[in-house]
């Protein structure tokens, strides 16, 4: 799909949000207040995985799409995979948020500048595209899931305009988006079922993303992984050498993800608020 279509989608979505706000008696400042705009413009892109796949990412130096990973391993992609069902198998996925993808213990944060470097080929959605396949009830029954996705694909980094507006209009306060506190209002998109995946912005970048580049903001891993004489430890050493933030943490009992999430939120508070 073309960037001009994504721009049209963005204008349409921002207009719908304003109308939604007015219809529900919500304040609709234009432009968004400074706090929401600043947070919306600067919040990082997050990619997290389980431990062994993270070591593989550190070893290769790239985040790779499902399609590329399958090609590299010379194995076909399962047709039941969510990305295949959505036609997004050629993309690397990020949440524009703290780490939220479950079953993950290690992660990378990238600066918002990564989006600017992919203006022509990156796209965003104001929800988790994979989660659409899990919906029991779609907002528009006559529309296919892929059709719904296409109608909500937005240009990068301009999708942050809608993010800032929604942080201000739909949430009690902008920080609630970061803290994973549900918005007061569901908004104009029509997704009401499910968890934070229905309102967390997603960015997709085609094919692969270089890890050890200027856009890398911070690396997170449990202390035991960072101490390994292996790819994760070597990425931490590279971070020391290149003054890139690197955060190791004690994993709370049984739950690396909780440690990852906690450390990431604290990092965002330290660096963006």
């Amino acid at each position: 799909m073309s960037r001009s279509r994504w721009e049209t989608n963005l204008d349409d979505l921002c207009r719908r949000l304003e109308e939604y706000g007015r219809a529900n008696g919500l304040a609709v400042p234009d432009p968004a207040p400074d706090a929401a705009k600043r947070l919306g413009d600067s919040i990082y892109l997050a990619h997290s995985t389980a431990d062994a796949p993270f070591a593989a990412i550190c070893a290769s130096g790239w985040l790779a799409s499902a399609e590329r990973q399958a090609a590299d391993h010379k194995r076909p992609l399962s047709p039941t995979r969510t990305e295949v069902a959505m036609g997004t198998e050629d993309s690397v996925f990020f949440y524009v948020a703290p780490f939220r993808y479950p079953n993950t213990g290690c992660g990378l944060l990238f600066a918002a500048t990564l989006e600017s470097a992919h203006r022509d080929d990156g796209a965003a959605t104001p929800f988790d595209s994979g989660w659409l396949t899990k919906l029991r009830v779609r907002p528009h029954l006559a529309e296919t899931v892929r059709g719904f996705l296409a109608r909500h694909e937005l240009p990068v980094p301009e999708h942050r305009r809608y993010l800032g507006m929604s942080m201000d209009i739909l949430f009690e306060k902008p920080e609630d988006y970061v803290d994973c506190t549900e918005p007061r209002w569901p908004g104009p998109i029509g997704l009401t079922e499910g968890d934070q995946r229905r309102w967390t912005h997603e960015v997709r970048i085609p094919d692969r993303v270089f890890v050890r580049g200027s856009h890398l903001q911070a690396v997170f891993a449990p202390s035991a992984r960072a101490a390994e004489d292996g790819p994760i430890g070597r990425l931490f050493e590279w971070c020391i050498e290149n003054s890139v933030d690197h955060i190791d943490f004690d994993a709370p009992r049984e739950d690396d993800f909780e440690g990852l999430r906690r450390e990431c939120r604290a990092y965002i508070r330290r660096t963006l608020y």
């Binding site: 039941t80 995979r81 079953n103 390994e228 660096t271």
Partner: protein, 219 residues
């Protein structure tokens, strides 16, 4: 808000991580399913409260294979009944154990102590790869122990890897002061067959020390 489920009503089908050999032993979060309705599975993040599993992410069991194939979870061949106050961990041979918190902690503590002893012996014999590997086992078993980090720092110093040594010092900062860690590393280095000179001391109070690592707050 998802409804809580009594742990007594659940069974374990796997764990929500994928690990390689160098990451073991490791405590892992179980993947549960309902005994009475095996098609309902539960993934982290979740919490436990008074014998109930709370705020878990529910997925249909049919989705578990997809998550396994995507490298997100590991599934067992069979199932095991869930127990209150129990912990799941995977040993160095990829065998899983489901024990009470106390038992698991004791067993992992024993593995850590044994690995530290063997790593120290390997260091004295000059077998650096073995010392490094065993120190890794000790850290995986109990990441609150400072000795394996010091052993790894000594190995890295002896290999002329100051970045690796500095990383170990950073990781140890949670459990040991900078000076006591340096003394510990010096001690392990002195135990090497061909003693490695002590690293030049870096006074962290120097006015410009680490200034280059301070990053501006994003606008």
């Amino acid at each position: 808000m998802p409804s809580p489920h009594s742990v007594d009503d659940l069974e374990i089908v796997g764990y929500a991580n994928v690990l390689s050999e160098t990451m073991l032993p490791s405590v892992v979060p179980p993947v549960f399913r309902l005994k009475a309705d095996p098609d309902r599975a539960f993934l982290p993040p979740y919490s436990f409260n008074a014998g109930f599993l709370c705020n878990a992410t529910e997925v249909p069991a049919s989705e578990l294979d997809e998550l396994r194939d995507a490298g997100e979870i590991t599934l067992f061949g069979g199932v095991s009944p869930a127990r209150r106050e129990f912990e799941l961990w995977v040993d160095q041979s990829f065998h899983w154990h489901y024990q009470s918190f106390d038992e698991a902690r004791r067993e992992l503590g024993r593995i850590a102590s044994e690995a530290i002893k063997q790593a120290t012996d390997a260091l004295r014999e000059g077998d650096l790869p073995r010392a490094e590997r065993l120190a890794g086992v000790a850290i995986s078993a109990d990441d609150r122990r400072v000795e394996p980090l010091a052993i790894k720092a000594a190995v890295r110093r002896s290999r002329g890897n100051p970045l690796g040594e500095r990383l170990m010092a950073e990781l140890a900062a949670r459990v040991a002061g900078e000076e006591s860690f340096r003394i510990l590393v010096d001690g392990y280095c002195a135990a090497l067959p061909q003693s490695v000179p002590a690293a030049p001391r870096i006074d962290s109070k120097r006015p410009m020390h680490d200034v280059a690592t301070i990053r501006p707050k994003a606008a």
